[in-house]
């Protein structure tokens, strides 16, 4: 078994098991927790509508914070949208998903993906620079922040250097790329990257609680 066979086979397979088990573990572990007792008189019902509202409104910066957060917010948008496009709209990736989902969707030309990928990586680097140069951000950052950044960037970087090659054989780069994806899949449920599947659950919960307490959302 060569490195590519290992990456495409056992590495990816075990990463998928850990991703699925870990993700469900985190979600079930949170959902089944006992709800914190709220002794205040409810100002509103705090139902699904409240949850959906906050999921939407928290996607944008509130006016008072715009001057302070516009720059990182834009970078975060570019990084996330670039990541989304690279993962889901690059044709070889679509074929990977089709391999186990059984259906596919249209992709973007490779050159468009390269541009979006470079934009995503550049934004990621800019966000990291901001994190290490801002005293406040630096103070509240821990290993999880930096390691999660690395785990996200590695598949992007290893994917982007594949067309350039740098004298390394394609199959070696492909194997390294797949292994970096496997590492991301393994780390994803356990660190701050868990926001991938928790972001809407937590926002929705916040929305419901806030509305119940009469806070403006």
């Amino acid at each position: 078994m060569d490195l590519l066979d290992f990456a495409r086979g056992p590495a990816l397979q075990w990463a998928a098991y850990i991703l699925v088990a870990g993700t469900i573990w985190r979600i079930v572990g949170i959902v089944l927790l006992k709800e914190k007792p709220d002794f205040s008189e409810p100002r509103a019902r705090g139902g699904l509508g409240a949850a959906l509202k906050v999921i939407y409104t928290r996607s944008f910066t509130a006016d008072p914070f715009k001057p302070a957060t516009m720059y990182p917010k834009m970078l975060a948008y570019v990084m996330h949208l670039g990541l989304f496009a690279v993962v889901l709209l690059f044709v070889p990736h679509i074929m990977f998903f089709e391999g186990f989902l059984g259906f596919s969707w249209p992709g973007l030309p490779n050159n468009a993906i390269y541009v979006l990928g470079v934009a995503a990586v550049a934004s990621g680097i800019a966000l990291l620079v901001r994190r290490v140069t801002s005293p406040v951000l630096k103070l509240i950052s821990n290993f999880d922040d930096y390691f999660s950044w690395l785990m996200t960037m590695l598949p992007m970087l290893t994917g982007l250097i594949m067309p350039l090659r740098f004298g390394v054989r394609y199959e070696t780069l492909l194997a390294i790329h797949i292994l970096s994806v496997a590492a991301l899949m393994i780390w994803l449920p356990f660190g701050k990257l868990g926001h991938t599947f928790l972001v809407f659950i937590t926002r929705g919960t916040t929305g419901m609680v806030f509305e119940r307490r009469g806070a403006k959302t």
Binding site: D5, W25, V28, G29, P92, N110, N111
Partner: protein, 351 residues
Amino acid sequence: MRKDQNLGEYLRTQGVSRRGFLKFCSATASLMALPPSAVAQVAEALAAARRPSVIWLSFQECTGCTESLTRSHSPTVESLIFDAISLDYHHTLQAAAGHGAEAAREAAQEENKGKYILVVDGSIPLDNPAYSTIAGISNLDMLKASAKDCFAIVSVGTCAAFGGLPGANPNPTGAVAVSDIITDKPIINVSGCPPIPVVITGVLAHFLTFGTIPELDDLGRPAAFFGQNIHDRCYRRPFYERGQFAETFDDEGAKAGWCLYKLGCKGPITYNACATTKWNSGTSFPIESGHPCLGCSEPGFWDKGGFYEPLSTGRFDSGAKLAGAAVAGVALGAVAAASGRRRQAKYTKEG
């Protein structure tokens, strides 16, 4: 070709003009990635070359490699170069058989001790010597005996170079490559199923010109021919970059000549000269004929998943194991939540 003739004299008797010969030398030098200044040296050395003795052993193989060479675009200079070697033993091509033929092989080995080239096609079975024998001699014994005094070994075809089809899972004969057995001789792997004829003649031309083996890649293949992958040299590459793929063998994309990646093309992980030298007098190569590259010049190509399975497809087992992982996740989550609830109760009581 008579033994006292050199190659230049022989080619002239076959009607090859000086211009035609130089054209071949230029092409060969170019294929071997030699500088233009080396063309004269190639021509001079080739013209003066005497017939080197070649002993060709065929083991667990399909004769496709020999067919590729002998039925290639004859009668070109390449095939005449092939004629110009002293093929002292090749049991598919020779008229003689049995002990007489074996005696001729042994005599040629003795006469050209340390100078002859040993060409091997086919893999060698190790599980049971009786799986493949010639004149009652096992492939293993014959290889060891013939390799002992050779100058170098050329493993022709993927079977000899890497085990090939006989070595594919479950490898019922315990087939191995030449390099798994012979470790004390230079081995040039000319892989492919079959290999490209001009690569064989290129290797011979290099040997005739310089008296050495060419520069090899990490798999022991001539770097000049196996240095780049099919994908990088493929004329359909622009379609790959534009995201234009044939989805089936008869759709509009296939008719328009779009990239065959989705149909399982292994071009990105296959190193060979198909896209540049092409086949059948430079007519085309498999991708040009509308079929994805199978990756036949790579080790273990039979076991790298389906030929029509796209390269980016993961290798997952059944979904049952993933479902098992999901169930495990639910169980772990329930345990974590129960533990959390206990802590919550404790804090609530304390608080």
